[in-house]
């Protein structure tokens, strides 16, 4: 439910704030709910707050799994 989106951290700002970018659009958000966010990280953003860091390795693993499954030959039942 809650629309939340992965966005790229492009600038770290004082007061636990940051600028993020999604598809070329930039927004200021709060980092009050996360720790150790660095420039170049992707964060999940909801109502102006980062809720978590996105794990690029897990993302890659998931996509690779999708590719593998979707290309498996399947027999019609």
């Amino acid at each position: 439910m809650c629309l939340a989106l992965p966005a790229l951290v492009t600038e770290l700002l004082p007061d636990d704030l940051a600028k993020v970018e999604l598809g070329g659009v930039r927004q200021k958000i709060s980092l009050a709910l996360v720790s150790d966010v660095a420039l170049g990280d992707y964060v999940i953003v909801h109502v102006g707050y980062a809720l978590a860091k996105l794990d690029p390795e897990e993302a890659a693993k998931t996509l690779a799994l999708f590719e593998e499954i979707s290309q498996q030959p399947t027999e019609a039942r």
């Binding site: 439910m1 598809g23 909801h46 102006g48 993302a59 499954i69």
Partner: protein, 372 residues
């Protein structure tokens, strides 16, 4: 858009759909509930039911905080907005939802109430600081995803010593709602759950383990993109076929077993459980909602004002209760599409874009030979 577009790939989607079709046992029915309104919306918006084999039936659960907010609580928000000196701040989702007598925040605004749409609790805080002459009340709604941002705002309000900021809390909880649905004799027999995406980012996957074991149902936590949903369905089909009832995490790129401990701690510091809360379409659910702790009483709108507490019943012909339990589909409700449409919602399922009836109306009503 990175981490979004890749998870919408059409070719891979069709490949996953084929894999699901290959693993579904012929003649077997799989009744899977997606708890979260975001998943209901995604399934409709991407037309995913067209890709799923006939044996799979997706049942749309009550995970839409706008939908399950009782009419009485909207009336209470309208009451607050009408108090002298109050500026009511709200997320866009709530503005058109009708309370009693078809009143809504948008209509109240048109009649002169000071109601502002905000994107974030930060906006409401900033407004309170900019306008010390106004009493800023934030209309807080949402599941566990949206609660931490409210907690942050309350703590900041306390640190700043703001005298003119308060919150009307309507935050609700996911696991109690799942349990309530499963405990109900009336719910259709469910074979598994698609678990919420971003709620789980906050609470982690651990809270579902008890329910999976106790009710013996598999739970697969899924992201919101179409490939996430399809993969989760595949994982559920496998668990059902193998007789397993485990919690699996498809959304591993954003969800861990522990979740966001920092956010959880903040919420625990600021909020406490209400003994019960009314959910539109479900009735009273125990331990399912949050109130602001006494330590933050100065920022609790329900303590600052004598907010009326009235329970308003839905139209008796409204079938939302049955629809939320998978007993009926939207088209089987007499009111669907006749009296009840997104422009004139009669019950929780139609009230927001994510409700089962609204999603079907907006994206799917061309099926099934319905009239416009």
């Amino acid at each position: 858009m990175k981490y979004i577009d890749e998870f919408r790939n059409g070719e891979v989607a069709r490949g996953l759909a084929k894999a699901i079709a290959a693993e579904v046992e012929p003649g077997r029915a799989y009744r899977l509930m997606e708890f979260c309104g975001g998943h209901t919306h995604a399934i409709s918006r991407y037309g995913l039911e067209d890709l799923l084999p006939d044996g799979i039936r997706m049942i749309h659960g009550p995970g839409c905080p706008v939908c399950v907010l009782p009419i009485g609580r909207i009336d209470a928000a309208l009451w607050l907005a009408a108090q002298p000196g109050v500026t009511l701040c709200s997320y866009g989702d709530m503005l058109r939802v009708p309370g009693s007598e078809r009143r809504s925040l948008l209509k109240a605004k048109a009649a002169g109430a000071d109601i502002r749409m905000v994107q974030s609790t930060q906006d409401a805080l900033a407004l309170a600081q900019k306008r010390p002459d106004r009493q800023v009340v934030f209309f807080a709604i949402g599941f566990e995803t949206t609660t931490p941002p409210s907690a942050v705002a309350l703590k900041q309000a306390q640190a700043l010593g703001l005298a003119n900021f308060s919150m009307f809390s309507n935050h609700v909880l996911t696991p109690p709602a799942i349990a309530h649905i499963l405990d109900s004799d009336e719910t259709v027999k469910l074979d598994g759950f698609v678990g919420p995406a971003h709620v789980s980012t906050v609470i982690g996957s651990r809270p579902y383990e008890g329910a999976a074991a106790h009710y013996n149902k598999p739970v697969v936590i899924a992201g919101f993109e179409p490939l996430d949903v399809l993969q989760a369905v595949l994982m559920l089909v496998r668990q059902v076929n193998q007789g397993r009832a485990e919690v699996e995490n498809e959304f591993a790129r954003a969800v861990t077993r522990d979740g966001n401990l920092k956010a959880q701690a903040l919420v625990a510091e600021v909020f406490e459980l209400r003994p019960w809360f009314e959910w539109r379409g479900l009735g009273r659910v125990a331990d399912s909602a949050l109130a602001i702790r006494p330590e933050f009483a100065a920022f609790d709108a329900e303590r600052r004002w004598p907010v009326p507490d009235i329970s308003v019943a839905d139209n008796p012909a409204c079938d939302c209760g049955a629809i939320l339990r998978g007993l009926k589909r939207p088209v089987e409700c007499r009111l669907f599409g006749t009296v009840c449409t997104p422009d004139n919602p009669m019950g929780s399922c139609m009230v927001s874009a994510e409700g089962a009836c609204a999603a079907h109306w907006t994206y799917g009503r061309f099926r099934e030979g319905e009239t416009r």
